[in-house]
């Protein structure tokens, strides 16, 4: 087990909200963290004795099987680790898994992988799997449902094989990059509107990673704060004026 742990403490009105806010911030799925409830919180009468819930999220060094260890790559049908190639094994593995999946989905495409920096400035790099080809919109799906599922299943398989969770993103024909730019612009426009109207702006429902882009974009905004409300899959970001 790695001695380095990322720990995040979140305070919110309810435990569920605190957990999902924390996951938003980390940009990780629920499986990647261990949740420790520090304080369940309490609902007071008419706001008296009201206490917020507090949770601690610990990013798991080992996310899936307790049986696999970080030092021991598993023995599956996936390519085996050659000595001296430790650094790029996750890349090759991720590329291989995505290829196997899309081939079985009867889609023809070229798959490449590389190490990229994470958006949150974490020193740990992230695996980016790029899929190129013709007519790949079927791999994105409505509200990027297919792309997200592909990424989720790939992450699970890669993590299981490596014995630890590694950050991984799949992009299809530059969709994520384009979408991220759109979301940043949207965030700025809606923030402007919130300032002008003085009213809370509610965005359309988005996935955790998309909400995260909005939160990050407006993190240092002088006049507004962002907050996610509602339950998955209809959770949305709202933008409101700073008090």
């Amino acid at each position: 087990m790695s001695p380095e742990k990322t720990i995040l403490e979140v305070i919110a009105p309810t435990v569920e909200e605190a957990v999902s806010r924390g996951l938003d911030q980390l940009g990780l799925p629920e499986e990647a963290v261990e949740v420790e409830v520090l304080d369940q919180g309490a609902k007071g009468l008419f706001g008296l004795g009201n206490r917020q819930a507090r949770v601690r999220l610990i990013v798991r060094p080992i996310s899936l099987g307790e049986k696999t260890t970080a030092a021991e790559p598993g023995t599956g049908s996936t390519p085996s680790r050659a000595s001296g190639e430790d650094d790029d094994y996750p890349l090759e593995l991720a590329r291989h898994v995505v290829e196997e999946l899309i081939t079985r989905m009867k889609v023809n495409a070229k798959v490449e992988s590389s190490w990229v920096e994470q958006h949150n400035g974490s020193p740990e790099p992230m695996v980016l799997v790029d899929v190129h080809g013709e007519d790949l919109s079927i791999l994105i799906g409505r509200r990027s449902e297919v792309l997200n599922s592909l990424q989720y299943i790939t992450s699970l398989i890669v993590s299981k094989e490596l014995g630890k969770w590694i950050p991984l993103m799949i992009d299809i024909q530059g969709y994520r990059t384009r979408r991220e730019r759109q979301l940043r612009q949207l965030a700025q426009r809606m923030a402007e509107q919130a300032v002008h109207s003085g009213r809370r702006q509610v965005l359309e429902p988005m996935s955790a990673s998309e909400r995260r882009i909005i939160h990050l974009e407006l993190r240092d905004h002088p006049d507004v704060v962002t907050e996610s409300v509602g339950d998955e899959p209809n959770r949305k970001v709202t933008i409101l004026l700073k008090r």
Binding site: E30, R104, K106, I138, L150, L156
Partner: protein, 79 residues
């Protein structure tokens, strides 16, 4: 379709030898797949609030659409 489910399930479970996928008769364009895994692997295939199983279904739907089929996936426990 069957191969897709087999690949994912085998890669995710602790007992890959106990993974089996059965494809029932087609009714028109409807296909029913039954994925069987060892009891202790059920959680891994279904996931929290069914997230893993649902993701498998989403990918499966793409594969099925390629053949103009509709597919249903059931996950059952082996004995």
């Amino acid at each position: 379709m069957k191969e897709l489910v087999e690949y994912i399930a085998t890669a995710l479970v602790d007992n890959p030898a106990e993974v089996s996928v059965k494809q029932s008769r087609d009714f028109g364009n409807k296909v029913n797949l039954e994925l069987q895994v060892a009891k202790e692997d059920m959680g891994r295939i279904i996931g929290k609030s069914g997230r893993v199983a649902n993701s498998i279904r989403v990918l499966l739907r793409v594969a099925a659409a390629r053949d103009n089929k509709q597919v249903n996936l059931d996950v059952v426990e082996g004995r």
